[in-house]
């Protein structure tokens, strides 16, 4: 289709508008995120001195070479496995919950959403310690399961405890975007789907799920990515034995005081995540 002069002008106008709409946040992110990030990039090519500071004169790829070591591979594999399990559980639990919220009266709906967030306005460290007590030997959960004849539960300092903690920490990150996308579903489309496919599961798979895919994707990213980088939860609930990528990076920065390795690891992680996010989004987009 050939564009007329008026349409061309209109499109140029639109581009200009879009640019100015994006400008404040774009400028902010460039100045207060991209620019500082360059510092980290520079550090990743530098060298740790004998006092643990970073020498900016000696450039090399040593920090990147270190990422090939088996320990890093172990940590990455464990992180991916735990993060995937966490994301799947969050998705399965959050989807019906978000659906439930979206189908309430506006007031109830908002109360429910805020009720989801309120626990997180306490303090994350305190919440993690509370989980430590809940999951401990002879703790409330164990006492309960014993009382109903299921026997003692001793899962503190295990992978299960880490997953429970991660699901707890990131569940709202799944609920919010899911809710946002479920809420804007056009009811008429679902009705049409019912007429077309009859069964509920069919309608869900063919109509509802594709339409709410942006929420699913956004939620998955918001859960998966921070789970990979989680630090406090695996340390406290996994008893420091289930090192995840986040804890490993913290170790590099704040225990080994090896900033170049911490920086290089962060960069590789960010690049991989960014690329997979883009791919994930594209594939999600195609489903629409």
């Amino acid at each position: 289709m050939k564009l007329g002069a008026a349409e061309l002008k209109r499109e140029r106008e639109e581009r200009r508008r879009g640019f100015f709409l994006a400008l404040p946040s774009f400028a902010y992110m460039l100045l207060f995120f991209a620019l500082p990030l360059v510092i980290v990039l520079i550090y990743s090519f530098a060298t740790r001195t004998s006092t643990g500071s970073t020498a900016l004169s000696d450039w090399n790829l040593d920090a990147y070479r270190k990422l090939g070591e088996p320990i890093v591979r172990n940590v990455v594999v464990r992180s991916v496995v735990l993060a995937v399990i966490t994301t799947v559980i969050c998705l399965v639990v959050a989807y019906p919950f978000a659906w439930f919220c979206a189908h309430q009266r506006p007031t109830v709906r908002n109360v429910l959403l805020i009720a989801v967030m309120i626990p997180f306005w306490t303090n994350f460290l305190v919440r993690n310690y509370a989980w430590r007590i809940l999951l401990s030997k002879g703790g409330p959960i164990s006492t309960f399961t014993e009382a109903i004849g299921l026997g003692e539960v001793d899962i503190l300092f295990t992978k299960t405890a880490v997953v429970i903690g991660l699901v707890y920490a990131y569940l709202p990150f799944m609920i919010l975007p899911l809710y946002a996308s479920i809420d804007r579903l056009d009811r008429r489309l679902i009705e049409a789907g019912r007429d077309l496919y009859g069964s509920g599961p069919q309608t869900f798979r063919r109509i509802i799920l594709p339409l709410t895919m942006p929420g699913v994707i956004a939620g998955s990213i918001l859960v998966f990515v921070p789970s990979m980088g989680a630090y406090v939860t695996p340390e406290l609930l996994g008893g420091g034995k289930e090192t995840m990528l986040g804890s490993y990076i913290v170790t590099q920065f704040l225990t080994a005081r090896n900033w170049p390795v911490g920086a290089s690891l962060s960069f590789v992680l960010m690049t991989v995540m960014l690329i997979s996010t883009v791919i994930y989004f594209r594939s999600g987009g195609r489903n629409l």
């Binding site: 004998s50 006092t51 643990g52 172990n74 034995k241 170790t251 080994a256």
Partner: protein, 390 residues
């Protein structure tokens, strides 16, 4: 102050300027909320003093103050009454922030502009910060109470000239034990952790510190090596021991080990003397627990008062150090913290209960070792620890 800032901000092109300037303003506001009148002048004085100090190397007299004290300390490490006493005696406010590790504090101070007057780094961190030029040499004639320090800690091996730091508290790292498991004559050995048979008695209810130097160090001591080894073979041996122990322990924990121990969640805990004693005091049956440094030896450590290179109120800082080194104040510190006092003059004022406690003041200190910075070898410790954990 605000108008000048804003006018300049208008001139400046970078958005960083505006927001950064806001940062400066608001932090002043914070303090101003407490002392509205004094704040602005104090800030200006500070700036003036700083330049003066740089140009002429200004001298501080004993007891001189040049503004409020910004203290960057470990948490709950100073008796609040000592702070109040200092505030009343010198008419300045003490504003305290806390850190939870040397490694978190160091980059903040080293980056400059931290705004703190006194920091309290541990031994090995002192040597690192001296080497990196992050500490300011003390004006010793402004701190006459320096003479109160026990010669063991002054000058200390990590500050050989005694120019930069004054010891604050000292302690050891060892094992807290539930005596109901092996009885009162529980062998005082790291074998409780590293010997499979001995450690089996605790049925997996063991915590170790989540710290490479401490935990690998314990294994090194068990093997009879120095905890500052730079031998890869020795380190590998220690790593294998820790890796073997991982299956027998509940957790690596540096924060809650004492509470886990006295609440019955664990029965053997690797940790610091004062915290352990504190936990034991809280226990329902304190007699069921004890703490010792195993006979093979262990870590001795100190925390030390020092001035960041750009401390805004150096004279107040010197006065504060002198205040803490006072005999009675030093004793108050130990009575409150339950850690050893490096202050020889304090001894008469320390509670007998604390002074005679073997947990605080172990009789045999010959096998205790400071952790030192092993330089380029340092990363091997943290790698070994990560690998041991799997």
């Amino acid at each position: 102050m605000r108008t000048t800032t804003l006018r300049l901000a208008g001139v400046a092109v970078a958005g960083a300027m505006i927001l950064a300037a806001c940062g400066g303003d608001s932090s002043s506001d914070d303090a101003a909320a407490e002392e509205p009148a004094a704040e602005e002048t104090a800030a200006e004085e500070t700036a003036a003093e700083e330049t003066a100090a740089e140009e002429t190397g200004s001298k501080c007299a004993t007891g001189q103050v040049d503004g409020d004290l910004y203290l960057y300390n470990w948490s709950e490490y100073i008796d609040p009454e000592l702070k109040t006493a200092f505030e009343e005696q010198y008419g300045v406010a003490v504003i305290e922030d806390n850190y939870d590790s040397n490694e978190a504090m160091q980059p903040i101070v080293a980056a400059g502009n931290s705004g703190y007057d006194v920091i309290v780094p541990s031994d090995y961190m002192v040597s690192i910060m001296i080497e990196e030029g992050s500490l300011q040499a003390l004006q010793l004639d402004a701190i006459p109470n320096m003479a109160n320090l026990d010669p063991v800690f002054y000058p200390a091996p990590y500050d050989p000239t005694g120019e930069y730091t004054a010891a604050y508290q000292w302690g050891t790292t060892g094992l807290g034990v539930d005596l109901t498991v092996l009885g009162d004559d529980t062998p005082r050995t790291w074998g409780l952790v590293f010997d499979p048979e001995l450690s089996a008695n605790f049925g997996g209810n063991i915590t170790l510190l989540n710290d490479p130097r401490e935990t690998i160090g314990a294994a090194l001591k068990y093997l009879g090596y120095s905890l500052n080894t730079t031998s890869m073979e020795e380190l590998d041996e220690a790593k294998a021991l820790v890796a073997d122990a991982v299956a027998r322990i509940a957790a690596f924990d540096s924060d809650q080990y004492d509470e886990l121990l006295v609440s019955g969640q664990t029965q053997l805990a690797h940790g610091y003397s004062g915290n352990m004693l504190y936990g034991i005091y809280e226990a329902e049956n304190p007699d069921d627990y004890t703490y010792f440094v195993p006979d093979e030896g262990g870590t001795i450590w100190t925390d030390n008062m020092a001035l960041p290179f750009d401390a805004p109120h150096p004279c107040t800082a010197h006065t504060f150090i002198n205040f803490i080194l006072d005999a009675e104040n030093g004793a108050a510190l130990t009575n409150w913290n339950l850690y050893g006092s490096p202050n020889a003059a304090s001894e008469p004022f320390i509670d007998a209960e604390v002074l005679e406690n073997e947990i605080v003041y172990p009789a045999d200190r010959s096998k205790l070792e400071f952790i030192t910075n092993t330089g380029d070898f340092e990363t091997n410790f943290s790698d070994a620890f990560s690998e041991a954990k799997g």
